[in-house]
């Protein structure tokens, strides 16, 4: 069923004709997000600029039972903003204002289309710090970060997006506007609806404002790269650092395949002669930083590190982190289709999981690059494939099924930071169990009785 001219007309009346796109040449570029091998043409794209416009658009959609897929910059990695056939794509990138930076309460109020890096920079400009840093932070929007509850490289010490959301303005499917949360550090009045909407993947409401928590900027930091001849030695180093009760802000790891791709792109001088690389960063009080960095270096060497290189300044540290953030995309240098997942396990099970991924790839005759946030157990096994090769795609799917089952068996999760979306939908029931699935379904039904918000995502 195509979108009727009446619906399109009403949408144009709300947001203006130039903010409703229906030409095929405009629909095609919105048919996908950052996820590989998933696309679907929408019915139209609507750009909203105010909460009132969002409310009016949702009302039109709800009255006509038209599906709505909310989208920011379209960098998601679970297919969460891949359109439904003939849906309205509600794009929030034109809602891009930073409304307030409150230095007395250490908060920032923003519209959903503000990019993560803009939040980071606006905080830094007044000496404050917004830690969540997903790989796509240069373009990902804060609305998308909240909807997906995005993580990043600093999750280990600073947590994830959820830990920095103090309040949300939400438009419900029938157009009603709801505020949840506030600037109070403590607030136990009623259910925490705010937490329900964080990570709800566009299925419960549309985020139109976000009140973020900021923290003081750490006074010092040290960044280093350690290289290893074997993966296990890197994993053991991570376990030893955690066991020594050091919580670095970053403990990232790259395997050989990933190192080569990243270096090919970023040219930051990563060593190419090792099997595994750890990017480690500690921040905080200068004295504590110096002590922790020395201890981390010592532990790396104790585990047989081939080399430990300390970044000489902030610029080098930043270029190393940027290089690491490019890992996912850089792997595409090797194959046309790159499918990554984010199976996550308790840190104590990490070495086991890394070995399991390698064995599974071998068993299914697949090329894999693995990297990820070793410090928080969040791995990114990435299969290098070609979506035109049906047989290989089938094997990729099988391999992921086994990896997810193993993650669950080890007490982990099917997704640490990318969300369920379409990519992990079929694995959710097994992971969540009957009781959780029932409660989630009932919650969704209560908030979106007509099922217009991102239908078919997360679960049916």
């Amino acid at each position: 069923m195509q979108l009727s001219p009446q619906i399109l007309d009403s949408l144009r009346q709300v947001v203006g004709a130039k903010n409703v796109l229906t030409e095929l040449e405009d629909l095609i570029p919105y048919g996908f997000d950052g996820t590989a091998a998933m696309s679907q043409l929408p019915g139209c794209i609507v750009f909203t600029q105010t909460t009132a416009e969002v409310a009016a658009v949702l009302k039109i959609a709800n009255d006509s039972r038209t599906p709505v897929v909310t989208r920011g910059s379209g960098t998601g990695l679970s297919g969460g903003s891949v359109p439904n056939p003939d849906c309205i794509v509600l794009c929030t990138v034109k809602m891009g204002h930073i409304l307030e930076v409150d230095r007395a309460n250490l908060t920032m109020l923003v519209e959903p289309g503000v990019t993560t890096i803009q939040v980071f920079e606006a905080a830094a400009a007044v000496g404050l710090f917004y830690p969540p840093d997903p790989g796509s932070m240069k373009i990902s929007t804060i609305g998308g970060n909240v909807a997906e509850n995005s993580g990043g490289l600093r999750g280990l010490k600073y947590g994830i997006t959820r830990n920095y959301v103090m309040g949300l303005e939400i438009v419900l499917p029938d157009g009603e506007i709801l505020w949840t949360g506030n600037k109070c550090v403590k607030d136990v009045a009623g259910y925490s609806l705010r937490d329900l909407f964080i990570g709800s993947e566009g299925t419960l409401g549309v985020i139109t404002k976000v009140l973020l928590k900021l923290i003081p900027k750490p006074a010092a930091k040290k960044t280093m790269v350690a290289t290893f001849a074997a993966m296990d030695a890197a994993a053991q180093t991570v376990s030893d650092i955690i066991a020594a009760q050091i919580i670095p802000c970053t403990l990232e790891f790259l395997d050989r395949t990933t190192i080569h791709c990243v270096e090919d792109f970023a040219k930051v001088g990563l060593p190419l002669d090792c099997e595994a690389l750890l990017l480690m960063e500690t921040d905080g009080h200068p004295a504590a930083v110096a002590e922790e960095a020395a201890k981390m270096e010592e532990l790396a060497r104790k585990n047989g590190a081939m080399a430990v290189r300390m970044a000489k300044d902030d610029a080098e540290a930043a270029s190393l982190a940027t290089a690491r953030r490019s890992a996912f995309s850089a792997l595409a240098r090797l194959a046309p289709t790159i499918i990554l997942e984010d199976a996550t396990v308790p840190r104590s099970e990490l070495a086991k999981m890394v070995r399991f991924v390698a064995a599974t790839a071998k068993k299914h005759n697949l090329r894999v690059g693995t990297f990820g946030h070793m410090g928080d157990g969040n791995l990114h096994p990435t299969f290098l494939t070609d979506e035109r090769n049906k047989d290989e795609m089938h094997r990729v799917h099988e391999a992921f099924r086994e990896i997810f089952e193993e993650a669950i068996r080890l007490g982990g999760t099917i997704t640490g930071e990318h969300g369920v979306g379409l990519a992990k939908k079929e694995f959710l029931p097994k992971f969540a169990g009957d009781a959780q699935m029932r409660v989630m379904r009932e919650l969704r039904k209560a908030l979106d009785p007509r099922g217009i918000l991102n239908p078919g995502k997360m679960f049916d």
Binding site: L21, E23, L24, E25, D26, I28, P29, Y30, G31, F32, D33, G34, A36, F47, S73, G74, T75, V93, K94, T115, I117, S136, K138, I139, C261, V262, D264, F265, A266, S326, A327, F328, S329, A330, L331, A332, R333, P336, I338
Partner: protein, 416 residues
């Protein structure tokens, strides 16, 4: 791969926030055409010409997607489909790309005529007379952008062979370009001087060809191939240590003749040799190491604007800055968003005036914040565009090629 890492670096996406106007969106459209889901429509063709071709996305792309090639093919596809065809457009293209820029003697003749118009004061007269007010606003704006043609062109300033000053260490060819030859023949002369000063014998034949960059970027592959063959014939790569260009836009094209001539049995292997020899002037000078000018020049605050095809197309970024820093008296101030397109982009400021103007305003705004009295940049299009932008704002800023500043420093030292 469609991760979106290119989006924040794309000037057109930044302006409109529409996916269609982004590298990722444009590639999606190209792929749809390849897959048969979309025809090469007028909307598609317009989109390919809305793209600046600045290649910032290529620098940003971790996956190494070769947008430059995709984009040139897409424009060729757009031209082949004929969807943009109109009598006026066809005439302009046939006259400029198909005739004027195919033979530099014609271009020089045209340049001469324009020079006469300017030198005899006719341009001044017409501008003063108010006749221009009768023209449509767009034509008036374009008239104001008309570059001033130099009184002497490259071949009148430069000998066919300039001997190395002192010991000859290298033999290089120097491409004088087309627009560069008409408007910045002095930059060509400065380039030859600097090369000779640093041990290079410089070969600069009087009759040269356009490199074909204009043609390739505008969907005219066959003409571009024709010009590439002509250049290779004129400058057999095995006879030179390097083939030098001082125009970022040309260099970015000149280094890819092998792709252009792939499958051409007579030229393919020579084109590979050619590609390896082509060097941007900054790149070459950094490679051979230059004599530092003696400290005599007055102090000047310089900021550096990166030509897109020099930084994104050729990855030449550190060398021009190092060259500028080597000049005594130069204080180099970093320009915010130095590698963001100024809107010149070949003929973009003529074909897409509004977007080009927005970009120019943004660039000039940044230049103001640096407090520099000189803007250095290594491409004729950028030189003209930034000159126009600064003049329009009444800024007392000089816009110059880095090599010109270096040549002046040598001359100043010699005088003392």
């Amino acid at each position: 791969m469609h991760c979106g890492m290119c989006l924040p670096t794309c000037p057109t996406y930044d302006a409109t926030k529409l996916e269609r106007n982004s590298p990722r969106g444009r590639i999606a459209l190209m792929r749809s055409i390849a897959d048969g889901q979309l025809e090469a429509t007028k909307t598609f063709a317009d989109e390919m010409y809305f793209c600046l071709g600045c290649l910032a996305c290529v620098t940003a792309c971790p996956a190494g997607v070769n947008y430059a090639e995709l984009f040139e093919h897409a424009r060729a596809e757009a031209e082949a489909s004929g969807v943009l065809s109109s009598p006026k457009r066809n005439f302009i293209r046939r006259f400029t790309i198909g005739w004027l820029f195919m033979d530099l003697r014609r271009l020089r003749l045209f340049g001469r005529a324009l020079w006469l118009w300017q030198a005899l004061g006719l341009q001044w007269l017409v501008r003063k007379s108010g006749v221009l007010k009768l023209m449509p606003a767009r034509l008036r704006e374009m008239e104001a952008m008309t570059p001033t043609v130099q009184s002497k062109l490259s071949h009148q300033l430069i000998a066919p062979v300039t001997p190395a000053a002192g010991q000859k260490k290298y033999r290089v060819a120097m491409l004088t370009g087309c627009a560069q030859d008409l408007i910045f023949s002095d930059v060509n002369r400065d380039t030859v001087e600097v090369l000779a000063r640093n041990g290079c014998e410089v070969v600069t034949p009087h009759a040269q060809s356009c490199c074909g960059s204009l043609h390739a970027h505008n969907g005219e592959w066959t003409l571009a191939q024709q010009l590439a063959r002509r250049s290779i014939d004129q400058f057999p790569p095995e006879q030179f240590d390097a083939i030098i260009t001082n125009a970022g836009g040309c260099g970015s094209h000149l280094k890819h003749y092998a792709k252009l001539l792939a499958g051409d049995a007579a030229y393919e292997s020579r084109a590979h040799a050619w590609d390896a020899k082509v060097k941007d002037i900054h790149e070459w000078l950094a490679h051979i190491g230059i004599e530092s000018p003696k400290a005599t020049a007055p102090p000047q605050t310089v900021t550096y604007h990166e030509s897109c095809h020099l930084c994104h197309g050729q990855k030449v970024t550190t060398q021009p800055r190092a060259l500028l820093k080597s000049i005594p008296g130069v204080k180099l101030v970093e320009l915010p968003e130095a590698s963001w397109c100024c809107g010149s982009a070949g003929v973009y400021n003529i074909t897409q005036p509004e977007m080009a103007d927005d970009l120019l305003r943004r660039k000039v705004g940044h230049i103001k914040t640096t407090g520099a009295n000189v803007v250095a940049t290594g491409n004729p299009g950028c030189l003209l565009q930034v000159q126009n932008g600064c003049a329009r704002e009444g800024m007392a800023v000089r816009v110059a090629h880095p090599v010109t500043l270096l040549a002046e420093a040598y001359r100043a030292a010699d005088r003392n």
